[in-house]
């Protein structure tokens, strides 16, 4: 140690010692603004439970998928990154407005610090997923958020998916997401989360083979309808 070096010497995080598998981080960016009240929020909560149960049942995916939940209305880190083995699906309730832009910025910075934690603990990772679900339109500016998403997608730093529940502002979703936004069929949150967990299970195994990895969510038994 040189004279000038007073850097803190951190202890390793036990979660990475216990489980050094390569990680597949996913952020769920969920709209819990007032308009989600009633059945929609109930179905969303049920969907989160399904998501957890399905991933938990796959012993390898359970070690590889790291989940964080950011809700907006107002922006709140509901749950910082946690492995599926320690993931307890929260029960969300509805609150105020829809600051989507701020929520996106917040979750991208959460993602950045998670990546730093992987790096300093010597943990490999696959391209992260950011999964936005909303039933409205932003009540703040999304111009910076859109730019961050574009840059991140270009640099292959993450993949951003937007799902609109009926009533969502698809014009804005198209603006911010590089990928075509999807429209949820009714309130089929459970099917959506089933699909998401199956996709993440497949991605986290990163196998190259001749079976189709992801089923098309707009297919006949899918959860989405073509926008």
């Amino acid at each position: 140690m040189s004279d000038e070096n007073y850097d803190q010497r951190p202890f390793g995080s036990v979660e990475f010692a216990e489980n050094p598998e390569n990680r597949c981080p996913v952020i769920l960016l969920l709209d819990n603004s007032g308009s989600m009240g009633g059945r929609p929020i109930q179905e969303l909560n049920a969907g989160l439970q399904v998501f957890r149960d399905e991933l938990f049942a796959d012993s390898l995916a359970a070690k590889r998928v790291d989940v964080a939940i950011v809700t907006f209305g107002p922006v709140k880190v509901e749950m910082d990154f946690v492995g599926v083995q320690h993931f307890h699906a929260p029960t969300l309730s509805v609150v105020g407005d829809t600051p989507m832009g701020a929520a996106i910025e917040q979750s991208l910075s959460l993602l950045r610090s998670r990546k730093d934690a992987y790096k300093s603990n010597g943990i490999g990772y696959y391209r992260p997923w950011v999964f936005l679900i909303t039933d409205g339109g932003p009540t703040d500016s999304v111009s910076r958020a859109s730019q961050l998403i574009r840059e991140g997608e270009d640099a292959k730093a993450f993949m951003f998916f937007a799902v609109g529940v009926k009533g969502a502002n698809f014009e804005v979703l198209k603006q911010i997401s590089v990928r075509e936004p999807l429209q949820l069929d009714g309130l089929r949150f459970r099917d959506l989360f089933k699909w998401l967990s199956a996709s993440l299970s497949a991605v986290s195994k990163s196998r190259i083979d001749d079976t189709p990895a992801l089923s098309n969510p707009t297919g006949p038994s899918g959860w989405a309808v073509a926008g």
């Binding site: 489980n19 050094p20 390569n22 603990n121 990163s206």
Partner: protein, 651 residues
């Protein structure tokens, strides 16, 4: 799903019982009867493409070459149509996927009694099985985290043999699949189509498995990246030979992750073997240590294993610089490398009753948050300023005196005016410098004080990690989730059986539709060629006839699809629901077996959690009652520095 009987080539009937697992390609189930056999049945549409390869593997009698590889024993055919459906093989009973062994978090529950020597032995056994595969002219191809099934006695079985590359009578049946993490640099990023896989390719995957198992599940190509920019992704790291533990640091620009073992902790021949397997030299034909090389290396390495003199559950290689597992447990407070033997931790042995188990878990008291470390530290009333501070004091007095003299001289010279004024200003600057800048020794001491402050802060944080209850609470929350899951199982079983009953009509209909083959049907616009195409897409019976599936096939338009759906309608019209027919007992049994499996698994995890919680609580308590000497050392250094700084300010 509904057909649970198949015919072998010799005409014998094979009955399947509970499914063991589902994969991308099909379902593996137990075969009824003695013999410990399993059967893989391909998904509709995939079987036809596998028929020739599986038949050739059966004919080659590969299964006679090694009983630890689940080669096809016999091909299976549909009872009615006689089409190829799958094959039988030896069952890998009581075995778990290898990632459950190498990953510390899964090992705790899946292999609670596994020690480091067992890990070494298991890998030697993997090498033995792979060496025999190579000796029979096959290549595994898709080495990965679940192709190896491990038993608790360290024996292993290689599965997925139908994806192996296999040569027979001059024809190569290729392996078209792979897993990037285990794929050698020379094949990274390529399609496996038309690639001839070699034993040297397998050797890369084998070395990766061995490495991960000996290094607590760490992946060899992930470490701390010292180069500019982002850490390269895993596939690029492999392609660029960035083995993070390598001695070729200038080239790899990687360092091992913090606190984990390194190549220094291995016998030299093992360390060399990893360097060769992961470095650029491995690419040349037979450049990597072969599977049979690994057998020798690992067998010899077993003789180098010694017990750790600190912890009974730790073993390491004689060559290691101290016990690597003790080092890791210090580096990651709360981490347990190997499960300590749980013996008589609960009076009367481990509770078997679930209620007792839950009570035992909830009965372990929460140790509460960590106390203030400073309060646990000795008072140290007799600390005196260290000798260095006296020197600093003296030199500061001397400097001030020189400063005053210089100041007077400066004022005197300045007042002379002319050239003297310039010297006067210089003398004044020197005077200020001498008066107010601290002497060098003061700088050194205050730096040391800052350093000891930082050390003390680090010590406090470590103490909070090891003596606090955060890990305990997290483990208890996990336990509560498990309890909830196990308590939900009876309800889940009832719900699923009920759903089965509600679906009775659907199931009967399904079976009815399955009896009508498209091949034997007269559908306008669908001739023999089209029927063949439909079959190759897995559309064989009325049950498979789905509009969306049909129009997705090239050359099938809405008109043809409508005709097929119309035919399906006529078949449906012939169906009569029979309410007296009970739910298929096979289906109920499958649900019960599935629920039982979950229960056994959950109870096993709960047992382990009980032991974990007890250990966490007792570790926390013991680190509070007897704080480790390094805390006292950090505390003493910190207090000494405070006394010293105070002494300096007096002057």
């Amino acid at each position: 799903m509904s057909v649970l009987q198949y015919r072998t080539r010799s005409g014998a009937t094979v009955r399947l019982s509970a499914p063991l697992g589902q994969g991308g390609e099909g379902t593996v189930s137990s075969v009824e009867g003695p013999g410990e056999l399993a059967a893989k049945i391909y998904k509709a549409g995939l079987a036809a493409g596998r028929e020739n390869k599986v038949l050739a593997m059966v004919d080659a009698r590969l299964h006679a070459t090694n009983q630890f590889v689940a080669y096809p024993l016999d091909a299976l055919f549909d009872m009615r149509s006689g089409t190829f459906a799958g094959f039988t093989m030896r069952k890998a009973s009581n075995r778990k996927e290898v990632h459950e062994l190498y990953s510390p978090s899964s090992r705790k529950t899946a292999f609670p009694s596994a020690t480091f020597p067992l890990l070494v032995r298991a890998m030697a056994n993997v090498a033995r099985a792979m060496a025999s595969v190579h000796a029979s002219g096959c290549v595994v191809g898709d080495v990965n985290h679940s192709v190896v099934m491990v038993a608790s006695d360290a024996t292993i079985t290689l599965i997925d043999s139908d994806s192996f590359q296999f040569k027979a009578a001059g024809k190569v049946f290729p392996c078209k699949v792979g897993t990037p993490d285990f794929t050698p640099p020379e094949l990274q990023g390529q399609s496996f189509e038309g690639v001839l896989r070699t034993a040297n390719h397998d050797a890369f995957g084998l070395a990766t498995l061995v490495f991960m198992t000996l290094f607590m599940g760490r992946f060899p190509f992930v470490g701390r990246f010292k180069g500019a920019g982002d850490m390269p992704d895993i596939e690029r790291s492999i392609r660029e030979y960035r083995f993070a533990y390598s001695n070729r640091r200038a080239a790899t620009q990687m360092e091992p992750p913090p606190h984990v073992p390194t190549l220094v902790d291995l016998p030299l021949p093992l360390a060399d073997a990893f360097e060769r397997a992961f470095g650029p030299l491995g690419v040349s034909p037979s450049g990597r240590p072969t599977a049979s090389d690994w057998v020798g290396l690992l067998d010899r390495a077993e003789a180098d294993l010694v017990k750790c003199n600190q912890s009974a559950s730790h073993h390491h290689f004689r060559q290691a610089t101290g016990c690597p597992w003790c080092r890791m447990e210090r580096g990651f407070p709360g981490f347990v490398a190997f499960v300590p033997m749980v013996s008589a931790s609960t009076p009367g042995g481990a509770p078997i009753d679930l209620g007792q188990l839950i009570a035992a878990i909830r009965g372990i008291p929460d140790p509460g948050p960590a106390p203030d470390l400073a309060k646990l530290m000795p008072a140290l009333p007799n600390l005196v300023p260290s000798p260095a501070t006296k020197g600093a004091g003296r030199s500061r007095v001397g400097r001030r005196f020189a400063g005053v003299v210089s100041g007077f001289a400066g004022v005197g010279l300045f007042s002379l005016g002319g050239g003297g004024a310039l010297f006067g200003i210089i003398a004044l600057i020197v005077a200020f410098g001498l008066m107010f800048s601290p002497p060098e020794i003061v700088g050194t001491l205050s730096k040391a004080a800052k350093a000891s402050q930082a050390e003390w802060e680090t010590a406090k944080r470590q103490f909070e990690l090891s003596a606090g209850n955060a890990t305990f609470l997290k483990a208890r929350q996990d336990a509560e989730t498990l309890i909830q899951q196990v308590q939900n199982l009876p309800g889940e079983e009832a719900r699923r059986v009920e759903a089965l009953d509600a679906k009775r009509r659907d199931l009967q209909m399904q079976r009815h539709l399955e009896r009508f083959k498209i091949a034997q049907a007269k559908v306008s616009g669908v001739g023999e060629a089209r029927k063949l195409t439909l079959r190759s897409y897995g559309i064989e019976t009325a049950a498979d006839a789905d509009y969306n599936k049909i129009v997705a096939i090239r050359g099938f338009g809405p008109a043809t699809a409508n005709n097929i759906i119309k035919w399906r309608g006529t078949v449906e019209a012939k169906f009569a629901f029979d309410p007296s027919k009970p739910v298929d007992p096979q289906d109920v049994a499958a649900i019960k077996a599935d629920v039982m499996k979950s229960r056994t698994d959950l109870v096993q995890r709960l047992r382990q959690t009980t032991a974990d919680l007890q250990k966490l609580a007792s570790d926390v308590k013991s680190s509070r009652t007897s704080p480790a000497p390094q805390y006292i050392a950090a505390w003493t250094a910190h207090r000494q520095a405070e006394v010293d700084m105070k002494a300096l300010n007096v002057f």
